[in-house]
């Protein structure tokens, strides 16, 4: 009996059409947040920062460069992945789109520092030997091309002062000793039960089957990045934060 009721309910839901987009208002976004929590947050996290599903708290989404594309992804899912489609109405789907677009957008706020001076601080302190901006720099640490779009100034400041407080995923430090006694350290690129690949500070890639190593240690939660609490004065730190916040990648 309730099956029949469900079918009636389904028939009242017209096939969603992306064209009929309602204006984005605070109420629409709030409704989108509620729908997101019930239908999406299980995989994508309440803040959209990912888990089983993709991290949506980022400025650009690979499968949804436009709002229309995002509508289609929410409605139809992404074939060949764990992302299912959904039976929400067109209006509800647009509400979710409006909410998702608020994720990963860090609100602009006035900052004390000067970004141009911060760029010079960045160069003078050798940050580029480990970090990449717009394709230039080292690969030992995270790419900072769009760090300002991904992270707020408070988080960036904290990362400079105390880099070990929140080490980014995918940068596990490893120490290895070969059977010949050679000692190596680096950032893990890949690992499975039988092999490991890591990149050292000079970007040289090392690959071993584990039975070729006498020792292998992983330093979870550790970072090779020095803290800048005692290395930069207050003005230089403000400037560097302002510079990093200004890095938003290519929109």
């Amino acid at each position: 009996m309730w099956t029949a009721l469900w079918l009636l309910a389904l028939q009242t839901t017209a096939p969603p059409a992306p064209a009929a987009r309602p204006p984005v208002t605070a109420q629409e976004v709030a409704r989108g947040r509620a729908l997101f929590e019930a239908q999406c947050a299980y995989c994508h996290g309440a803040g959209g920062d990912g888990g089983r599903g993709a991290n949506l708290a980022r400025p650009a989404l690979r499968h949804a460069p436009t709002d229309e594309a995002l509508f289609r992804v929410v409605n139809r899912g992404i074939p060949g992945t764990g992302m299912p489609g959904n039976s929400m109405s067109a209006r509800e789907t647009w509400q979710v789109v409006a909410f998702v677009r608020t994720l990963g957008r860090v609100a602009r706020q006035p900052l004390p520092g000067d970004a141009a001076s911060g760029a010079r601080v960045y160069q003078a302190n050798g940050c580029a030997s480990c970090h990449t901006i717009q394709g230039r720099g080292g690969a030992f640490g995270p790419d900072l091309t769009d760090v300002g779009a991904r992270s707020g100034p408070a988080f960036i400041r904290e990362s400079l002062l105390d880099p070990g407080a929140d080490v980014p995923a995918g940068f596990m430090q490893v120490r290895a000793v070969t059977r010949e006694g050679q000692r190596l350290t680096g950032v893990r690129v890949n690992e499975d039960p039988f092999s490991i690949q890591f990149r050292d500070a000079k970007s040289v890639l090392h690959s071993f089957f584990k039975n070729e190593l006498a020792e292998l240690a992983k330093d979870e939660g550790k970072t090779p990045m020095p803290g800048y609490r005692d290395r930069l004065d207050a003005t230089a730190l403000d400037d560097l934060v302002a510079y990093l916040v200004s890095l938003e990648g290519s929109r």
Binding site: L7, G51, S87, D192, S195
Partner: protein, 530 residues
């Protein structure tokens, strides 16, 4: 075409005897180790191959023989069947291909067109087909059961098991027993009411349905408050085992719905997270044992039961071994359902322990909350659908385990047809790298004999063999073999794709082969020619 096709009895009778897979042959599958006749290899769920050509002594010479690339793009979770020179494989989500085992070349394919508005949670996957008589059976993602002519792949009949629009889907391999095809279903994340069905293999007519959430007037109905039973979940999405002696089929059931909010469904919520023993002739529920009453952590008991006859407590007993997603290893008497033993075999905190009858003592700290509740294991579980294996040679129970927690934040769940009905969001535990292991357990105590640690929590099942080996795979694409006695690694091969499937072994042309689905390829390995 979604209508039931008329039965073509003439075609059934015209089939040549060589293309017949009788029930008796499947029942005696252990005596035919060159074939893989049913999802678990044998009805008892052991996934042990008595073939011993590939052994500890020569496994280093194992190399790929052929590969078959499927068209499905999501996880390739299928276990193939192999007999009479042909491999029958499901291509996700709901296609079937028959392959010549000598060359890997396709003999026929069944391609199913799926409805445009299909919305299935948790991946467009399929775990395999069943075979009986001269037919192959596929349970489809749009909740149909289809019988195909074993020789041609042509459709014999196609019946609707449930309505896909309300979130029902079928992903498990059916179980063919005594002229019937038993089918489990999925959809608990959409608030469906679970059931287990059996269909007549010849006609496609439904023989029985066992609702896994009791309706009004049925025993167990009182374990659901209000109307919550209508969306109670308790789905049956992993293929069960069967014992011809007890004439019972044993199936685990999934989480109650909504997954993470218990106060809207006060009570034990029978028969969610339970083991059900069902008469295959009538569908009558003979006994049940509920592992996780009133689950609020989505820890489905949809794992694979292993049936073992052994001395326990000083006398021979018919046992059922069950490594549960909730982190406990259970031993039940499979005739009576009596709880005999339970022991944690991985990290868990959802219970403070089991009482003398195996009932867990709840830990209120693990109920999803606004502040977030830290739960071990996370909702993917310590185990999941992937196969354990039991080696009678090593007298060991093997299980891939996942050591991973999650933080659960409660939100609202309102039932609407075809929509997620969950009640929480999840976050990873920061600064903690999840890991996994191939864990060898004493089958009669659950004690850990040894552990082979893997980097990423695995989604691969296991196969043990009379060659003294255990086969497994990793999320990084390594397919590997361990010494079944010691756990020492003996061989590995990088397949180039994550492994989300269960290995099998079979014989062709008098030689032993091992097959595994990896990435989008079914890979077959054999020893280099002597």
């Amino acid at each position: 075409m979604r209508t039931v096709l008329p039965v073509l009895l003439a075609v059934v009778f015209a089939a040549s005897p060589s293309a017949q897979l009788t029930y008796e042959r499947i029942r005696e599958a252990a005596r035919e180790p060159g074939s893989w006749l049913t999802y678990h290899g044998t009805y008892d769920g052991k996934r042990f191959s008595a073939l011993d050509e590939i052994s500890r002594a020569n496994v280093q010479q194992l190399r790929p023989v052929w590969m078959y690339q499927v068209q499905g793009r999501h996880h390739f979770e299928a276990t193939p069947l192999v007999f009479d020179g042909v491999m029958y494989l499901s291509d996700p989500p709901s296609d079937v291909v028959a392959l010549d085992v000598k060359t890997g070349r396709p003999l026929w394919t069944y391609r199913r067109s799926l409805p445009e508005d299909l919305r299935a949670c948790c991946g467009d996957v399929n775990r395999g087909v069943a075979a009986l008589g001269d037919q192959i059976f596929i349970a489809t993602i749009d909740a149909h059961l289809v019988a195909l002519d074993m020789r041609t792949g042509r459709v014999r009949w196609d019946v609707e098991v449930a309505d896909y629009k309300t979130g029902h889907s079928l992903t498990a391999a059916p179980l063919a027993v005594k002229g019937k095809v038993i089918v489990g279903m999925a959809g608990a994340e959409y608030g469906v009411r679970g059931f287990l069905d059996a269909y007549d293999a010849a006609s496609g007519k439904r023989a029985w349905r066992l609702w896994t959430v009791p309706g009004p007037g049925e025993p167990g109905h009182e374990t659901w408050s209000g109307d919550s039973w209508q969306h109670g979940g308790a789905t049956t999405w992993v293929t069960g085992a069967y014992d011809p002696d007890t004439n019972l089929t044993y199936w685990g059931t999934g989480n109650p719905g909504p997954d993470y909010i218990g106060d809207v469904r006060a009570g034990d919520n029978l028969y969610s997270d339970s083991l059900l023993a069902v008469d295959v002739d009538t569908g009558a529920l003979r006994w049940h044992f509920q592992f996780t009453p009133h689950d609020v952590n989505d820890i489905d008991a949809t794992e694979i039961p292993i049936l073992l006859d052994a001395d326990f407590g000083g006398r021979p007993r018919k046992l059922l071994l069950f490594a549960n997603r909730n982190g406990f290893y259970y031993i039940l008497d499979r005739v009576t359902g009596e709880y005999l033993h339970g022991k944690a075999f991985a990290r868990q905190n959802w219970t403070k322990g089991l009482d003398a009858k195996g009932r867990p003592i709840p830990n209120p700290d693990t109920v999803p909350s606004a502040q977030g509740a830290l739960v071990y294991p996370d909702d993917d579980g310590v185990t999941n659908w992937f196969s354990p294996s039991y080696s009678p040679q090593a007298k060991t129970f093997y299980q891939n385990v996942r050591e991973k927690g999650g933080i659960y934040y409660r939100n609202d769940a309102v039932y609407q047809p075809g929509r997620m009905y969950l009640g929480a969001s999840k976050r990873a535990v920061r600064g903690e790298e999840p890991w996994g292991a191939l864990r060898a357990l004493d089958p009669l105590t659950g004690d850990v004999k040894w552990d082979f640690r893997v980097t990423t929590p695995p989604w691969c099942g296991l196969l043990s063999t009379a060659g003294g080996l255990v086969f497994s795979g990793t999320m990084e694409g390594m397919f590997f073999a361990l010494d079944a006695e010691s756990g020492k690694p003996l061989w590995q091969f990088q397949t180039g794709g994550a492994i989300w499937s269960n290995p099998i072994s079979y014989q062709a042309g008098g030689r032993q082969f091992v097959a595994i689905a990896a990435g989008s390829a079914l890979m077959v390995f054999g020893l280099a020619a002597p």
